[in-house]
Symmetry: C2
Subunit: 344 residues, 2 copies
């Protein structure tokens, strides 16, 4: 009997059915700059009009083993928001406006309903970030992934005027550092979090945690906040008084804030300036996980750090509040030879 591609594990019809379902989701994210439909060899997007010296800004990321929480709970329609957030939040730290996004979805066997739910989340994230879902690749790789598992990668492109690029060079001694609240773990540290909460503490994703008012699965799956609109608001209000933005991902406040502070200076953060979300305390005590390891692995409740001159702090807080963010004075920029984040 003849052998077919389907028999070898690749279902072209399922792939085509998924493409049909994705079409309307992607079209709903269209921005005026988009030229072509999803489905050609490549996606096309104009630049916004009236730019003097446009610079493209691009970032790629995945969502790490937060995926395992989606697999275990069967909730697949928000992990795509995380994927967009992880990429777009990196892009906007340069001051860029996100333009478009592409996704890569890979599974051993293509389950159309699951893939559609994932991409629905991606489309929702794109709308939230104001960027178009311009294309994507769905790969069916028999034998590469366990049944029910998949991996995701995302790519975002934005654009910024060259003169407006934020690279930390505007940061001065005495600048204040505004913390913007994260929504939870975002998409970092899940291997450690699951090791503690599931393996060591023997908690269950379905178990209701009174202190969180939801199940553990819900707390862990909460989508990463997308800061694109907040950054747009900050930029509109502060202009060049917006000195720097740091997206707090793997490496935490320890590694990410110094990336936007010039040499000779360092970020000084007052951890008592806010109430650390209890999920991090639960992980710390449940492991136990030492404080230094915790700070290097998790965002500890801070998703974005904003550097502004002290006299602009009030305006920054106002702009963030108006954009729906919780923000507070987290610290300041001080002279330092090591450049390492100081915690007080």
């Amino acid at each position: 009997m003849a052998i077919t591609y389907r028999e070898a594990g690749v279902d072209i019809d399922a792939g085509e059915e998924l493409v049909r379902r994705i079409g309307p989701l992607a079209r709903a994210t269209r921005i005026p700059e988009v030229l072509a439909d999803v489905g050609g060899f490549a996606g096309l997007c104009r630049l916004p009009g009236g730019m003097q010296e446009p610079v493209l800004v691009s970032g790629t990321d995945g969502v790490g083993t937060k995926l395992e929480v989606a697999f275990a709970t069967g909730v697949h329609d928000t992990i795509g928001i995380d994927l967009v957030a992880m990429c777009v939040n990196d892009v906007v730290t340069t001051g860029a406006r996100p333009l478009f996004f592409l996704d890569y979805f890979a599974a051993g066997r293509l389950e159309v309903d699951v893939a559609e739910a994932v991409i629905r989340g991606i489309a929702r994230g794109c709308k939230d970030a104001g960027c178009a879902l311009l294309g994507g690749e769905t790969a069916e790789l028999p034998g590469m992934y366990e049944p029910g598992k998949y991996d995701l990668a995302g790519f975002a492109v934005g654009v910024v005027e060259r003169a407006s690029i934020l690279d930390g060079s505007r940061v001065r001694e005495g600048d204040v550092l505004v913390g913007v609240a994260s929504s939870g773990l975002h998409s970092n540290g899940y291997s450690l979090a699951r090791r503690v909460l599931i393996d060591v503490m023997k908690l269950d994703y379905a178990s209701h945690l009174a202190e969180f008012g939801c199940t553990l699965g819900e707390a862990l799956l909460r989508p990463t906040r997308i800061y694109a609109r907040a950054v747009e608001a900050l930029s509109a209000k502060l202009g060049d008084r917006l000195h720097a933005l740091a997206h707090i991902t793997g490496g935490g406040l320890v590694d990410n804030v110094p990336r936007v502070v010039p040499s000779g200076l360092a970020p000084r953060l007052e951890l008592a300036s806010y109430e650390r979300p209890r999920l991090f305390d639960l992980i710390a005590s449940g492991g136990p996980v030492e404080e230094a390891e915790l700070r290097r692995t998790f965002n500890l409740g801070v998703g974005l750090v904003v550097a502004v001159p002290r006299e602009a702090a009030g305006e920054a807080l106002d702009a963030l509040a108006a954009a729906g963010e919780s923000a507070w004075l987290l610290g300041d920029v001080v002279a330092s030879t090591s450049g390492e984040t100081l915690f007080t």
Copy 2:
């Protein structure tokens, strides 16, 4: 005893060691438009100077289960060329010049030597395509991948003048279709190829195949050709007489050529115009795999199809030969109501 991120399966030091090794590889791909080093929150790239109405063109892809051949043979330094090729060849079909590339590499445990070899291949592909390796993500996802396995996704961005976009609308009845040779299977159909060659025919990757002058593993791993330089040469020589380009990937000549032919017309291909590489015959007879399935799954020796007016065919062949490609008259464009590829 306290639990650490490393103990939970994520080795930050290995990740940092990899970043150190990747740095010089990425820097070697720099083009003048690149503004920042790999390692910031995002990669920055200017547009080429002097463009009137630049349009960004973007594509994403993986390399499918060609990865399994890399795993089985332990050869990891060319699969990255495939990754770049799959993305960049899509981008250049629009007439765009590739600008930059980003990669996503995910494994259960980060093996620095393997990851470095993969990324060395990616950097080589980027140099061949004339684009910069602008960034990437290396994800260590404990439990997601079997030991020794990894997945790859790539993302390419190019730029084209709006007036020069190739979308098939220039294609006319009577245009000739020039075939450009592939280097082998490129990166499509490996699940079917491995099913036939390994599972059914019981061949071994290490077995020397006299008719190929190499091992089966070498024949299957041969990197996908990157057509960026060839398309640049065609474009320079033909100008707007370059009517369309089709990258032959999954779906083969059956699905991909009609994508650039306007309605009312169809591609007519003469399969006797070239000698089909014997690897495809081996798969066809070894399965057996029916001819229709073969045509829908593999490139059958044709990696790119170029549509030009008949009087420009000689110039197109000359330009391709000068760019180092093997090319020939594969067919033409005829009136058709169905639009489906006709094989003669």
